[in-house]
């Protein structure tokens, strides 16, 4: 079978994807099978998203790490390509399924643990930084304004585009991996200047992080690639992350533009009624058997704030707290972890609420969380009930 990519598309109104001589040679297999496969992925992705060329990127962030989501096929694939694939740019990694330090406290079988460790090993062999975090924007230095990156994790892509002045598409696990190996990405939609045709006007008063999560979820359903958002007050880090997490969950949209946008854009209100609709969709239980905090994972500021809120108080039921390992190490030095454990928190590094194998509907009927992203996956993937509460309400209702 020959595999020569043509410089044109037939009967196609869109501009075709143009490759340089060097890229063409790699696609033909002249630079090895792994490079050929990586180029096939970028070309197929580029054609599907109407890119006209490939452009250099400086940072890739990969999804497709949790054995719970990629399964045996993913594990085998990564094991095979890690024999000779190496990443060319700084590459970071999404959470995996558990924290190796306390995995024995949870009901995970040997097969899950060994397959997950094989996945971890494959990524490390390829030269990926084993960050196991969905908040790369919070634990790594942000490159200069306008830098092209390739982030597969949806909340991270939205955060990068909206708050960090970086440029990325909402990459798939595969296009991000191929981008890491080649050091380039297709130049499509969000990497270019975009002008959203919809403006969502925030009308809900006194919003907390749950409100912003629901706003993001609503915006993600309405927007195509990006939306304007107006009427926002100054937001803290928790609220920004909640909004990005919510949006990444409900659709394909991957950027907020702040402000009214062009006068001709369609204006849509996010009011109490719309918020109630989102709440009704995701809140399916009156109360939870346990609490989860972190989806996206908590950063150091949030851990510091949580520690302060829990001063002199203790949870009356299990509370799982998800965070990156680097944040856990910093929090340990400052003494936050001891304090959180005293208050009854289970501290879990390297993993996240989202698609966790540690919560199983055989043991748990419902979970209380302040995360819209977490709620969506707990409901649809873990199959448990969800009780939505803001962090403030969780501390008031669930601790003494």
């Amino acid at each position: 079978m020959e595999s020569t990519h043509k410089y044109y598309n037939c009967n196609n109104d869109n501009l075709p994807l143009e490759l340089t001589r060097d890229e063409e040679s790699a696609l033909k297999g002249e630079q090895g099978e792994t490079m050929q496969m990586a180029y096939r992925i970028l070309v197929a992705t580029g054609e599907a998203t109407d890119a006209e060329k490939l452009i250099p990127i400086e940072w890739a962030h990969l999804s497709g790490v949790n054995y719970n989501t990629i399964g045996d096929a993913g594990e085998e694939f990564l094991s095979t390509i890690s024999k000779d694939a190496r990443v060319k740019v700084k590459t970071t990694l999404n959470p995996m399924g558990f924290d190796i330090d306390n995995v024995s406290n949870y009901k995970l079988d040997e097969n899950f643990i060994s397959k997950q460790l094989s996945i971890r090993n494959s990524y490390e062999t390829m030269g990926v930084i084993p960050s196991f975090s969905c908040i790369p924007y919070e634990i790594f230095d942000i490159p200069q304004t306008g830098t092209q990156v390739a982030f597969a994790e949806s909340n991270a892509a939205i955060h990068a585009n909206s708050y960090d002045n970086l440029k990325t598409n909402k990459e798939s696990a595969f296009s991000a991996l191929a981008s890491a190996i080649i050091g380039k990405s297709p130049y499509s939609s969000l990497r270019k200047e975009d002008t959203p045709n919809i403006t969502i006007q925030m009308k809900v008063k006194n919003p907390n992080e749950l409100t912003y999560g629901m706003l993001g979820f609503y915006a993600g359903k309405i927007g195509d690639t990006s939306v304007n958002i107006s009427g926002l007050a100054k937001m803290d880090q928790r609220q920004c992350k909640a909004m990005c997490g919510g949006m990444g969950t409900s659709g394909t949209c991957a950027k907020f533009n702040f402000g009214e946008g062009d006068p001709n854009t369609e204006k849509i209100d996010f009011d109490e009624k719309e918020m109630q609709n989102v709440h009704d969709e995701l809140n399916t239980a009156e109360k939870g058997d346990l609490i989860t905090l972190g989806s996206p994972q908590l950063g150091l500021n949030e851990i510091s704030d949580l520690t302060a809120k829990l001063k002199g108080r203790s949870f009356q039921k299990r509370c799982m707290v998800f965070l990156p390992r680097t944040v856990k190490q910093q929090a340990q030095k400052i003494g936050y972890i001891t304090e959180l454990e005293r208050a009854g928190c289970e501290i879990l590094a390297d993993c996240c609420t989202c698609l966790t194998p540690l919560i199983c509907k055989d043991d748990v009927d419902a979970v209380t969380t302040n995360s819209i992203k977490g709620a969506f996956y707990l409901k649809n993937s873990n199959g448990v009930g969800v009780n939505l509460k803001s962090l403030q309400e969780i501390v008031e209702d669930e601790t003494r």
Binding site: S3, T4, K6, N12, I41, V43, E47, F174, S175
Partner: protein, 129 residues
């Protein structure tokens, strides 16, 4: 709109579905048999066919299913869609299975059992036999 997503040259017999295909969960990773009772291709294997369907749907992890059936020698010879979706595009790219999109009119004209020669080096792409 015609596009070449994964190039190649292959000859085979069409298996067509007017339903979209969710590769994760409805296509068996070993046998490539469709297990969804509601699907028009229920209990049929997509092995060695030129698989013609509107588009893929569902989780992007479905790309690994396409890679798996290729590793198990049960993959289609090529895929032809109406719309390019990222799951099928990356799955075919991983597995090196030729993939093109075609316009609605040509899609309608292709029927199960037709013999085709697909060649992405030629401007016509599909040669009917």
């Amino acid at each position: 709109m015609s596009k070449i997503l994964v190039s190649g040259k292959v000859e085979g017999v069409v298996l067509k579905s007017n339903d979209p295909i969710n590769f994760l969960g409805t296509v068996d990773k070993k046998t490539a048999i469709i297990s969804d009772k509601k699907h028009t291709l229920f209990e049929k294997s997509i092995k060695n066919s030129i698989l013609v369907f509107p588009s893929g749907i569902g989780s992007s992890v479905g790309a690994y299913t396409i890679y798996s059936i290729k590793s198990n020698n049960t993959a289609p010879l090529a895929m032809i869609c109406k719309k390019a979706d990222l799951t099928v595009a990356t799955g075919c790219a991983l597995a090196n299975i030729p993939l093109i999109t075609i316009n609605d009119k040509e899609f309608e004209s292709i029927k199960t059992g037709m013999k085709l020669f697909l060649d992405t080096d030629t401007t016509t792409l599909i040669h009917y036999q």
